[in-house]
Symmetry: C2
Subunit: 418 residues, 2 copies
C-alpha cells in the first residue's frame, strides 16, 4: 500500500461544523456533558460515524464509539483513537473535538485507501471529559478503564442539580454496552497542546511521553495581627510575609531546577486584610506538577522542609491540607517512539514533552498501551474562544495519527512488530 | 516647694470609674464621639473638673477644657495637657482616658501641694480622636489647631448618617468657645504605648521625640493568566509571584536597615484566584512609616525603583495609587529632653522612641511646642478590652507628667528657663 494522507479539507470542515453546534444566543460554544447542546453535538458525530460506514456503539455512561471491525478480525482488540466532544463554557472549537474527528478521518482515509487492517480500528468520544457540569472530569474514560463504577458515575449530581444518568437517558445517550466492553490493543489521543511550548518553539508535533503528576496543597499560616505602625520589624509574626516567602521559594526552586517541575500559587488570601494591620493569617494553594514521581515527591518534601524552617524562623504556625495527588502517567515507550519516528518520516519537527493538563489518555493508559500526540495551539490559549490551531498543523497532526494507527493496526499479512 | 507626687489611688479610681461608663448590654465599652455614651463619659469628666475647682470651657466642636487660671496670670498662655475620652468599639479603658485623667490628677496635686504656677495649667479632652463614627480621626485637636474649619467639622456626616454638629447639640456639648481660643504655651500628652516596645524591653517611660510619617500605597500588578500545568516557569508572567517579591523586598529592606522604618503589606488579593491558574492580577497595599521624612521619602523611592526593575524582569505591568501621605511630626526637643531628665530624676528607666500611631499631640504640635510621654502596654495590645497597663506604670507616668508640667508652668518668681 502506498502511503495515504488524510483529506485535510474534510477534517477542517468537520471541525468547523461541529464548532457551530451548541452555541448559545450570544454565540458562545457551550456543550456541557449530557446537555441538549451535547446531544446536538453527539447527533452530529453519530451521523458522520454512520456515513463513514462504521459500527456505532454507545455504552452505559454515554461513551460513543465508531468501530471498523471486519469479520476476519474475530475478537481481536482494536486500535482505539479518540478524545471527547464536550466543552467548557465559552469554549474554543479544537479541544477534544480535534482528536475525535481526526480519528474518524484517519479511519475513513484508511478504508478509502484500501488499507486492510489486521485488527479493528475504532474511534471514541468519551463522556464528560471537562467535568464542568459533573465531577470528576475525565469521567467517561475513567469509567471505561474501570476506575469508577458506572452506577456511581450515573448517580453523580451536577452543579445544576441534575443526575448524569437521567440526563443521558433524556438525551438518548444512555447506551446498552457495558463500559470497558472495548478493551483496546493500544490507544492514541491526538490533541491540541493546552500550553504554549510548541507554538513558541515553532515545532509541529509534540510527542507526549508523560502526563505530569499533580500535587495540590492548601497551606495556612498563622501569625499575629498587630499595628503596622507601632510594631517593630523584629517583633513581627507576619503571616502574609511568611506566605510571600513560600511563593518566592517555590518559584526560585522550580525556575532554577534543570527539570520540568512547575509550581504555582494560584489562590491567596490575608486576614484581617486591613492596610494597617500585620496579617494574622494567610491561606494559599500550592500546585506542584512534574512528569516524574520521584521528583514530584522530592519537591513536596523540599516544600515541607522549607515550611518547617520558616515556621521556626518567623515564629508562625503552618498547617498543610492535601487537596489532591495524582501520580504521573508514563506513556507506552514503544508508541511514543513510533510517534516520533512517524513525525520524522513525515518531515515534521517534533519534540518529546510532558502534558501538564489532564486527558482521557491518562485513564485509558491504565488498561492499554497509550500515548498522545500534540499539535501547537497559538499562544497556548485554552478553554477560550480565541483557542486556535493553524490548519496546516491540524492536518499534519492527523497525518501523524494516520501513520501511527496504520502501523499499530498492521496490515493483514504483516507481522505486528510493534 | 518639696517635690509632690500624684495621688495614685485617686487616679486609678478615676480611670476605672470612667472605664465603666458607656458599656453596652454585652459589657463592651463603646463611647463613640457625640453618642449618648460619650455624653455620659463627658458628664463624668465635667463633674470631676468641677470638683477639682477648675474652670470649665467647651468649644464649638465639643472639646472640653478644665482650666486652672489665677487672676495674676492675665492672658498668659497655659501649659496644656490632655488627650481624648472617646473610644473605639469594644475598647480598653486606658487609651486616651489615661492622658486626660492623669492631667486632671496632676493639676489637682499641684493645687493641693501649694504650687503657685507662673502661668495657667489646663487639661483638654479632644472630640472624636478615634474617628470611628466621624472622619477624620483626631478631629477635635485638628480643629483646635486650625487645620480644619469648625463649620466643616460640624457638618461631618457619620457612618450612622448623623451630623456631628447636631449630635453635639443633642448631647449638650456644642460649646460656645471658638476652637483654638486656648493657644497653649506648651502641650504634653501622656498615653499608653500602642505597641509592644516598652513592655518587651521592661522600660517604664517612653520619651516620644517623633511621630512617624505615613505613606500608604495600593499596588496593582498585571501579568497573564495561564494554566498552572502547561506553562513552563520561564514563560510565566505571574502577577502573584511578582507581588510576593515586593513583600519580601520590603521586609528584607526594613529589617536589615539600621532604622526604625516599618513596612507592612496588610491587604492582598489575587485574580482569578484559582488553584490551577497563574494569577493574572495581584492587588496589595503597602504601609510605610518612618519618623524621618528624608528616610520615608527614600524608602518610597527605593520601592518605586524596585517596582520598575521587577516589571522589566517579570514582564508584568505595575501601577501605583497613592492612598495617604503624612509627613512625620518632630516634637519639641526641649520638652523631649525635659521628659527624659524628669524620668531620670524619678529613677525611672526611659527610652526615646517614635510613635507609630496617630495622637492629638501631632495636631497641637502645629501651634505649640509639644511632646508625648508613653507608658508600657502589656503585649502592646490596643483597641481591645485586653488592653492593660500595670498600675505602677500608670502612676509612674503621671508623676513624670506632674514634674514636666510643674517645670513648664514654672513657679511664680522662678525664671521660665524651659
Amino acid at each position: 500500500m502506498s502511503r495515504p494522507s488524510i483529506d485535510g479539507q474534510r477534517l477542517l470542515a468537520w471541525i468547523r461544523a461541529l464548532g457551530q453546534v451548541g452555541r448559545d444566543d450570544a454565540g458562545r460554544l457551550i456543550r456541557l456533558a449530557a446537555s441538549d447542546a451535547d446531544k446536538a453535538g453527539r447527533d452530529t458525530l453519530v451521523q458522520w460515524i454512520r456515513e463513514a460506514g462504521l459500527d456505532l456503539a454507545v455504552d452505559r455512561v454515554g461513551n460513543v464509539f465508531g468501530i471498523w471491525r471486519e469479520t476476519r478480525h474475530g475478537d481481536k482488540a482494536p486500535v482505539l483513537v479518540g478524545s471527547h466532544i464536550d466543552t467548557v463554557i465559552d469554549a474554543g472549537i479544537y479541544d477534544g473535538c480535534y482528536g475525535v474527528l481526526a480519528g474518524l478521518e484517519v479511519i475513513q482515509t484508511l478504508r478509502t485507501a484500501g488499507f486492510v487492517p489486521a485488527r479493528p480500528i475504532a474511534v471514541a468520544a468519551f463522556t464528560n471529559e471537562e467535568g464542568v457540569r459533573y465531577a470528576p472530569d475525565m469521567m467517561g474514560s475513567l469509567v471505561h478503564a474501570g476506575g469508577l463504577p458506572v452506577d456511581e458515575a450515573l448517580a453523580t449530581i451536577g452543579t445544576d442539580g441534575t443526575e448524569l444518568g437521567a440526563e443521558l437517558a433524556r438525551i438518548g445517550y444512555a447506551g446498552s454496552e457495558e463500559p470497558g466492553f472495548l478493551r483496546p490493543h493500544a490507544y492514541v489521543e491526538l490533541h491540541v497542546e493546552q500550553g504554549p511550548l510548541l507554538d513558541r518553539e515553532g515545532v509541529t508535533v509534540g510527542t507526549v511521553e508523560t502526563l505530569q503528576g499533580i500535587s495540590w496543597q492548601r497551606i495556612t499560616i498563622e501569625g499575629e495581627a498587630n499595628h503596622a505602625g507601632t510594631t517593630p520589624m523584629a517583633m513581627r509574626r507576619d503571616a502574609g510575609h511568611a506566605a510571600a516567602r513560600v511563593v518566592t521559594f517555590l518559584r526560585d526552586r522550580a525556575k532554577s531546577a534543570n527539570a520540568p517541575t512547575v509550581a504555582t500559587v494560584g489562590c491567596m488570601s490575608f486576614e484581617p486584610n486591613a492596610i494597617n494591620v500585620i496579617p494574622a493569617r494567610a491561606v494559599f494553594t500550592v500546585d506542584l506538577r512534574d512528569p516524574d514521581e520521584g521528583r514530584l515527591a522530592a519537591e513536596e518534601a523540599a516544600l515541607a522542609a522549607y515550611l518547617e524552617e520558616l515556621a521556626a524562623a518567623e515564629d508562625v504556625t503552618i498547617s498543610v491540607e492535601r487537596l489532591a495527588r495524582f501520580e504521573p502517567v508514563i506513556f507506552d515507550r514503544r508508541i511514543v517512539a513510533l510517534v516520533e519516528d512517524t513525525a520524522q518520516a513525515r518531515g515534521l519537527a517534533s519534540r518529546r514533552m510532558s502534558s501538564g493538563a489532564g486527558h482521557d489518555a491518562q485513564m485509558i493508559a491504565r488498561i492499554a498501551p497509550s500515548a498522545m500526540i500534540f499539535v501547537p495551539s497559538v499562544d497556548g490559549i485554552r478553554h477560550n474562544p480565541r483557542e486556535l490551531t493553524h490548519d496546516r498543523n491540524l492536518i499534519a497532526g492527523a497525518n501523524v495519527l494516520l501513520d501511527v494507527v496504520a502501523r499499530l493496526a498492521g496490515e493483514t499479512g504483516e507481522t505486528d512488530d510493534r
